[in-house]
Assembly symmetry: D2
Homo-oligomer: 345 residues x 4
């Protein structure tokens, strides 16, 4: 089969690989229908994720059809159309029992990371019963791909951890795909105001269309001052960091109201300054999280009932064999106005 293979920092190829096989009884073999590219894949390609070694097939999102299942798989059978979760869950360990699948003792984020991933014609999915979901009849399969990672990440790490409530004033720092996923799912809880901060006018324009009530281009405007103006000096109830650098996290620290929540979504490579000299008495809560995908069943219901349309995050479509071109489009997001790309076999 063909797959997108990592060959060390900066190097990837669409090349022939042997088709995966069932190894464990709990595995399923999936024929990929759709996949996508994640910001994390770009991190890997930069060499930021050293656990990913030469020869690894990338990708941790997608949909497909069950080709074969191991003998212990009971919830899926050959021919089933499935959504692949970016997180593998054994369903048995202490973390899985607590719903913290991200820290599953045998799973977690392993696809396209510690084992071969979904940017390929076939993929082996461990712990299939707890890591796949049936695709509802009549579902838009492109939209389903958004449920592998980006929407549960926005919802769990941003919205649920931030405890967004009706009437809240929310700031989302970063209007990339993940920030927009936060924006879309934040509206499940009817906040009064959602202020979106970014440096790309196109993305802020998209954010407005997706429901942001205010946008700030922080390359032109002082985001702190603008937010203090907009909130009558009160600050923000929930500040969600969706970039992953010290400046944006410290912006969140500066704009948070007493009693507020800072929810970190960004992947950070450096430590940040936590200003406890002012924050110690401000009754704030800071959270971090690797997505658990516990919210996938709920997201499936909101999609099926047409309360949520994830397809609006998709800007470009490619054939899977053109994935190298798709990476180029995704990497040059500002130039190409890219949010998410869909790759179809």
């Amino acid at each position: 089969m063909k797959a997108l293979v990592y060959h060390g920092p900066g190097k990837k190829d669409w090349e022939e690989k042997s088709k995966p096989l069932i190894i464990e009884q709990t595995d399923a073999l999936i024929k990929i229908s759709k996949t996508t590219i994640c910001g994390t894949d770009l991190h890997i390609l930069k060499g930021d994720v050293p656990e990913v070694t030469d020869g690894r097939i990338l990708g941790h999102e997608g949909t497909g059809t069950v080709e074969e299942v191991g003998s212990a798989v009971t919830e899926f059978k050959k021919g089933d159309r499935v959504l692949i979760s970016c997180i593998s869950s054994c369903g048995k360990c202490e973390y899985c029992k607590k719903g913290m699948y991200s820290h599953c003792e045998k799973g977690g984020w392993i696809l396209g990371h510690l084992i071969d991933g979904t940017q390929a014609e076939y993929v082996r999915i461990p712990f299939a019963d707890n890591s796949l979901y049936h695709i509802p009849e009549n579902a838009d399969e492109d939209a389903m791909v958004m449920l592998s990672d980006i929407l549960p990440t926005g919802l769990e790490c941003g919205v649920l951890n931030g405890q967004v409530k009706p009437g809240d004033t929310v700031a989302i720092v970063g209007a990339g795909p993940i920030g927009l996923a936060v924006l879309i799912t934040a509206q499940f809880y009817m906040p009064a105001e959602i202020i979106m901060i970014d440096i790309d006018d196109n993305r802020l324009h998209v954010a407005k269309a997706f429901g942001a009530t205010q946008t700030i281009n922080s390359s032109n405007e002082n985001a702190f001052e603008k937010i203090m103006d907009l909130t009558g000096k009160k600050g923000i109830d929930v500040a969600i960091e969706a970039v992953g650098i010290p400046q944006t996290f410290e912006l969140c620290e500066s704009i948070i109201a007493p009693g507020g929540h800072i929810a970190n979504v960004g992947v950070h490579g450096k430590s940040v300054n936590l200003h406890l000299e002012t924050l110690w008495s401000k009754n704030i809560t800071i959270t971090t999280r690797l997505v658990d995908t516990v919210s996938t069943p709920m997201l499936l219901k909101t999609v099926t009932s047409k309360k949520l349309d994830p397809s609006k995050l998709i800007t470009h479509h490619f054939a899977l064999k053109d994935i190298v071109k798709a990476y180029d489009t995704f990497q040059n997001a500002a130039r190409e106005k890219t949010l998410k790309v869909i790759l179809t076999t």
Copy 2:
């Protein structure tokens, strides 16, 4: 009347001041029976709290008898024995309605800070109806003084914010009076293990007597390694910082288990390094809080029902007129083996 008056960094005197008067209709005038000294009072004396100006009477804890009430006070009358909360609450603003009295728009921590305090023969208490509590009959009044600040602080900032649960492994960094208050109130929720870390063997000895299951003297032992050993490399469910310096906060960051809570209790003068490069994916929660004293009614019930004996935090007794000597004893806590002192009029 006589009072302990601040005269700039390093200077305080037990001196004559005019007896306070009712200013607002919601005020009460209290004749002090008992008061105590807080670590915060030492911070003020070092000059760390610049809002405190020359001439201010210190102190924000105590009990007494109502001498006079303003015309709008309905819940207290002359002669009532009362517990004074360290936090004044107007009961009407947005923060008070949310139970966040610490950020009351007109109150909060003002006693011995922005207005004259309780280390005096009389004190004026603003918003008396929402800032005083009736002392139960037969209550030990020394014990009651511990409910003004230290026990609600330990409980709210440490235990409740840390979400201590039955079966948890808890670490408390700092075994001073406030760390011990955390230790005592953590036992409301039956954690399996409470590991106490300090550099003073006497305080660790006290901690053992108060219910710590393990103690670590971090001047002799590597606390991180010891905790990893004790927890089988899993780390700590709830780490509570009760010192207020970068090293102790960063110790909490290093020992926290995935899914864990870091509850800050310490008063910090500097920012700390938040290691998001490792913590971003660990599903942790960090909280800060200035005590709200919303838990005072509950603490009163646990004291009345003999589930909690706060008097064990008291090591020394003085007459109020000997308060300068009491400060000396409190400041030289290691030498004197001081926890809390009680000053009686």
Copy 3:
């Protein structure tokens, strides 16, 4: 002044009464701008609420302008435009401190019940600081009247007590004004399905327009069977009773899924059969509540930010002097297709 006065079961008159005076320092005197009629007023007129005695001015909802305040009122002054809460809160008692204003030791539901109410040209409001809200500039004052009682009741007793979550299947039994208020506020939490059950086709038609995904006329259809069909035999996640009779409550018992919530909103005159012989093992939660109006600040924010338009509950307008005619229209709701009426001075 003129007021609508109760004179025993079945008897009411629009008649001259003396203008109320400030009695307590915490009172405010309000000149009414707008008021409305509540289902509870009809209960009173039937004689179902014996605490209401001959001579009582009815009404517990409305808006107006502050005419005078008692000496202890600090948050409002003459000329302020205000929203009147149906619940009076002293802000000082144990229940008020817990946010359970409905059970305030000195307040609770007293307006138009134990003291004179709002269906009058003037009304005295006790505990004004904790029982009135400032009307935001540019607010639609008709819409504001819906925040006195019906919207917080729908939200608190129905939606919040029922713990409606994104993706849930919700059933609301009763599509009268209060059931529709539940329907509107349930959408703050993005349930997947909202099934509305009533016997009046017009109200079900309105429910569809307000966001119900399914409607059942239980006089034509077997509601239990229809719901089992619609949910694939699973039953309902949140069943909200908004009628107040045994049959409708027992319908909720029969349709609830394991793990589900039954939230009672209806005012009941009789006990109901609780089928513990089947429910004991179904992991369900049943709640009751008299509205606390703690959600009023949040509702004000959602109205100000245009996330909620309460005016759609209003079907008829009258001059306050025509209130007897308005009662007739409200009492004959099916004939007149009445939801809420607005009375303007």
Copy 4:
């Protein structure tokens, strides 16, 4: 092997049965070390649980040693000492993922009910990985048996559903083994008062020794009046029903304070009168639950750390072969002063 077999109402025998075999890959075969008898077993013997058919081996509690495991079992191996949960959990269905194992689509309470149980020399345990627990080294195995059912039931259905908090006033109606399990685990959350109500003085005496602060023999005293006296007419914060008949549930309804919780633990055979005509406005919560045993890991930690000693519920020991005699002792609990019996192979 030998087993205790049900032969229709009133009939049971200790007789030869064929040793169970592994049927599914997820099964484990356990050699029983210890088991016990539950009140539910007596219900079955009365014929109250018609799903239990002639020939069924009874029992759903116990400990033992793994004899053999199916090919898909990964967490246990031959020779492991294990605690058997009374609830079987597949770990894959919607209910299991929500932690509601009691309603597992393929499991739930099936042992000694729909499949053969633990009152035997061997038992087949389905879904072994999610339904067994490793017994900690040095654990008292008698105590462990109390974690199969009675302690998680008391904790989950009574204490957690009732939301017992520090300072609360709790009433437990019924001081049989399950009521005492509620009493023991309620103390995880430091309530101020625990009032125990029963008609057996011996059990009330035991309750006092186990931590009840007050006891009421409702055959001598009017429980409602006594509780109103004890609570200054306020009523009870958390009322826990641990009997299963209408009178005791209605007692809970009558004593509950506004804002209180009624947690049903009892197994009911009849519907009860729910007095919504008074309760509709009292802001109460009523819960039901079949134990999920999600709290078992936490209970294991509290036992291991010596915070909980479940062995105090054990009054009698028998050899397993004398189980018929043990049933007699358990059935005549008042006469024999029986709480729980331990049967050892």
